[in-house]
Amino acid sequence: MKSLRSQNYYEVLGISRYASPDEIRDAYELSKLTFTQNSMATYSLFSEDENREILDLITKACETLLNPELRREYDTYLDSGDKADRPSWEEREVALLAQGHAHRQQGGMLHNGVSTSEAPIGRGGAMESPTQESPHSETRSMNSMKGANDAERYIESVETYTGESLRRFREIKGLALSDLANSTKIRNTYIGYIEEENFSGLPAAVYVKGFVKLIAQALGLPADKVTHDYMIRYRSLEGKNQA
């Protein structure tokens, strides 16, 4: 058997690939009882922290598999194998969730209130007020104020968003690719390809769309318009490439 971290969501829950939603819920309920504090079945095996870590993972697994759309994508992901040049599950998940393709129902699905809420996207974005910065970063906050002004002017000047405008906007904000990668959970290379409009290096359109939306949100750009503009470009250029 593999270690917990290398197990897929089905293995984590100890269920088959064909498990019904009821079976998933049962597995979850059982795990909740198993990995709680003072559980007779685990107190001599796992510490409180370890129990919490296991239960977090189980909750995430359960929420994903109880969501039909996420589950379908997850199955596709499992079948295609976890390869370095393909998006990781985390990237796929954020991309799908960003588009509202698969709403993660908070609490309701597991009727216990345990939900892994996503970290707010867009930290370090344009809307961040200077007062949130620590006193030690006065120069940075000056820069970001200047950046905020430049940014506003830039948004006004853009008619159609392209990869190039995403890059320029990121630079105005003084963000490195890695900063954006950290806040969006999308890897550097994909963000780079999106900016360069190097579509052949990118995964399927559905993920590109999600990534662009996440990048736009993180940069504080009008996300729907950016995504709309970018995808029109993507489709026309993709079409040319294939022709």
Partner: protein
Amino acid sequence: MGQLFQKKEIFAVGGGKGGTGKSFFAVNLAIVLARGNHRTLLIDADLGGANLHTCLGIPAPESTLSDFIQSPTLRIEDVIVETPLANLRLISGAQDILDIANPKYTQKIKLIRAIQTLEIDFVILDLGAGTNYNTLDFFMVADKGILVVIPEPTSIENAYRFIKSALYRKLKMLASDPQTKGIIEKAMDKKNAYGLRTPVELLDFITQENATTGEFLRREMNRFQPRIVLNQVRSLADVRIGYLMQNACRKYFGVQVDFLGYIENDDQVWQSVRKRQPITLNGGYSKITQSFQIITQNLIQGLQLKPE
């Protein structure tokens, strides 16, 4: 019909803690098997406190398991005694605690080889308490090992300790290179220098060091599949503990544990023990007898208890 070709199966009954009802379970399992027309041999392998003959209500036999293990001339047939029940035979354990406390591994293998020559269907080894090498070795040479657990923290803790000890001993015996053996030995100490907490982590570590050995041991570990039976169950919440233990073992040991079933806490049980009359012999369809039948079916067919 099929029995002609059926290889005999050896079941070992252990559990770590004393007083969980191992002998009670072994005897009644043997009776249910014998009643089901299976030729069954019950072996008292509790080499420190043998008393299965008492559980069965028969006098202490003259020849015992320790005689067979120690004597080069005795055949296994010489130490087998008949019981009042058709199809059920017994090898009694050592009478004198001092005469054989620690048989060598080769002696245990001698016993297992001798068992294979007998015309029987099932063998049940009733092991002693604790996690000494005797108990662990018998548990591992058996085709199926069963842990009798009661729904109490101490019993569960001891069952886990038993699984861990058995698993590490098995891995250590299987590992051929001294480096891997050394890693396993160190990992047996809870505060080991590698920071390895669980058997799952240990295997990951071995695989990093030596992928071939790691994969080999992982396959062997997947074949290690202890069964658990819950005894003295008082409520539905108690029954659930079987599934919780199974869940916990999967995460901690990386081992699939089958939950065979449970036996309710019932006055009839201790009364039968006092009367030296196994409860499943009482006749009629008592709840306890039914529980034993379910457990036996699950054991033979490789199934486990269906959740209610």
